[in-house]
């Protein structure tokens, strides 16, 4: 998509051409076999389709010149193209919701229904949001380029927010039979690594990368052989990816040395504390609670408050934690009900806990998570 957008200078045309190329691939690859470079094949095919399309549409003139331009040599760097597309999708002239939706659509490869679910909005609303964002990019002339150095501090935060959302969309897949969409997580980590290389002086980029690495490290222990969910406290920590843990922790230490904390660095630090515990019982919960207090000071959202409450339960017990949780307006968020259920169970209020687990199961679209929540409800 990124390469085609640069070549064609038009998001809709690029998207159409890529879709056509995938249709051809679905038709041919099963009989002809996979080409040696599937991505390269898609790009070449999509570009040919776009050239045909432009020729058909225009008898002469500017469009013909445009079609000729498409025969220009291959791009210098595919990574730069991706960054260009990210910064275009995350341009500050677009609303945050539009930025996130567009990036997930164009770079994350999510379908519109999946994006709609991630944001808890109706599908039609999300579809309209994406169409409107693409129209604004085209009509207002939002440029397809990486912003100059001086503008990066303003242009970066939306990019980080978007990458984190792609990661989360992968790590807690909204729907379907798989708990995790590893492809999306890998994509978010890849883009974050690129950003970190491009912007070594931005601690929040390093923080975001560290956060993703530390969470990814637990991936092998997060599901059992049959694919069911294992909670953090119950995970076999010897199965964590030690190399990812080490890399993430080193990034966190570097961030701490810099002394410019931000939301991603703090979340990474929380995960670094978890990773440092060889057994769940050895977790330094007071340190985690302190980090959550700092995070609440920077980003006082209900979801952060919910996560902080989990730490409160470990430090001060389930009763004060439940009091915090029940004041939160997160009735449509399945994790809210799962946390509540766990706290109720620990307080011996079994009937209420069962109902809360059932409510959580109703609200998640992920089959693995639902199975886990229903099992808890019937324990």
């Amino acid at each position: 998509m990124a390469v085609l957008t640069r070549l064609l200078g038009d998001l809709d045309l690029a998207e159409e051409a890529v879709q056509e190329a995938f249709t051809v691939a679905a038709d041919r690859w099963p009989s002809d076999g996979m080409p040696p470079s599937p991505a390269g094949w898609i790009i070449t095919t999509a570009r040919r389709r776009a050239v045909d399309h432009l020729r058909r549409e225009s008898a002469r003139g500017a469009k013909e010149a445009e079609a000729a331009r498409l025969h220009a040599p291959e791009p210098a760097s595919e990574e730069t193209d991706l960054l260009r597309l990210i910064f275009t999708c995350c341009h500050p002239a677009l609303g945050r919701e539009a930025q996130v939706a567009l990036t997930l659509r164009l770079l994350g490869g999510l379908t519109t229904p999946e994006i709609a679910r991630a944001f808890l909005v109706p599908e039609a609303t999300m579809a309209q949001r994406i169409v409107r964002a693409k129209a604004k990019i085209r009509d207002a002339g939002i440029p397809y380029r990486v912003p100059e150095q001086a503008k990066l501090p303003d242009r970066l935060p939306p990019v980080l927010a978007v990458l984190y959302l792609i990661f989360n969309a992968g790590y807690a897949a909204g729907s379907g039979p798989d708990l995790v969409r590893d492809d999306l997580c890998a994509e978010a980590v890849r883009l974050s690594r690129m950003l970190a290389a491009l912007m070594p002086d931005e601690p929040e980029v390093a923080g975001l990368l560290a956060l993703q690495l530390l969470i990814s490290a637990r991936r092998p222990a997060r599901t059992t052989v049959d694919g069911s969910l294992v909670r953090l406290a119950d995970q076999d920590r010897s199965r964590w990816d030690a190399a990812l843990v080490a890399e993430g922790q080193e990034l966190v230490r570097a961030c701490v040395r810099r002394g410019r904390p931000g939301p991603y660095q703090l979340q990474a630090a929380i995960n670094a504390v978890h990773s440092a515990a060889a057994r769940a019982e050895a977790t330094d919960w007071p340190a985690i609670l302190q980090l959550y207090d700092q995070l609440m000071a920077l980003t006082p959202t209900p979801v952060v408050a919910l996560n902080r409450a989990v730490a409160v339960a470990e430090v001060a017990g389930p009763a004060p934690a439940l009091k915090i949780v029940e004041a939160l307006a997160l009735d449509r968020y399945h994790v809210f009900h799962a946390v509540r259920a766990d706290l109720l169970a620990r307080l011996g209020r079994a009937d209420e806990a069962r109902d809360a687990y059932k409510r959580a199961a109703q609200l998640t679209d992920n089959e693995v998570e639902r199975a886990h929540l229903l099992a808890e409800a019937h324990r």
Binding site: H91, A93, D139, A140, G141, I142, P143, P147
Partner: protein
């Protein structure tokens, strides 16, 4: 090149005193010279207060006139500038400077091509 309309929104009410307005007008004049020099300038104008406006509506072959601006509200367009720029980022940079000089909100809106 794309064409953009930069509209300055100003609160209704009396004109600011000369010691406030003076530096703003100087700043705008300098900005306009720069727009001219760089070839970005197309047109600019300041407007009389909104209560000098008249709205016309065609109705059943007749016209209906109403005294005052089309939109209700406490702010109206006080002036506008039409510029040419290679892309939105360039147009926004001109708009940012205009907002800083006037201390007022500036709306940047692309012309339909």
């Amino acid at each position: 090149m794309k064409t953009y309309l930069l509209s300055v929104y100003q609160p209704d009410g009396p004109t600011p005193p000369p010691e406030v307005l003076g530096p703003i007008m100087e700043g705008l004049a300098a900005l306009n010279r720069e727009l001219h020099d760089t070839g970005a300038f197309v047109f600019t104008a300041g407007l009389c207060p909104p209560d000098t406006a008249t709205v016309i509506r065609a109705k059943d072959g007749d016209v209906l006139l109403t005294d005052g601006p089309f939109t209700e509200g406490k702010e109206h367009i006080g002036g506008f500038t039409v510029i040419q720029a290679p892309d939105l980022d360039a147009a926004l940079r001109w708009g940012e400077r205009m907002a800083a000089i006037t201390t007022l909100p500036v709306e940047v809106r692309p012309f339909a091509s």
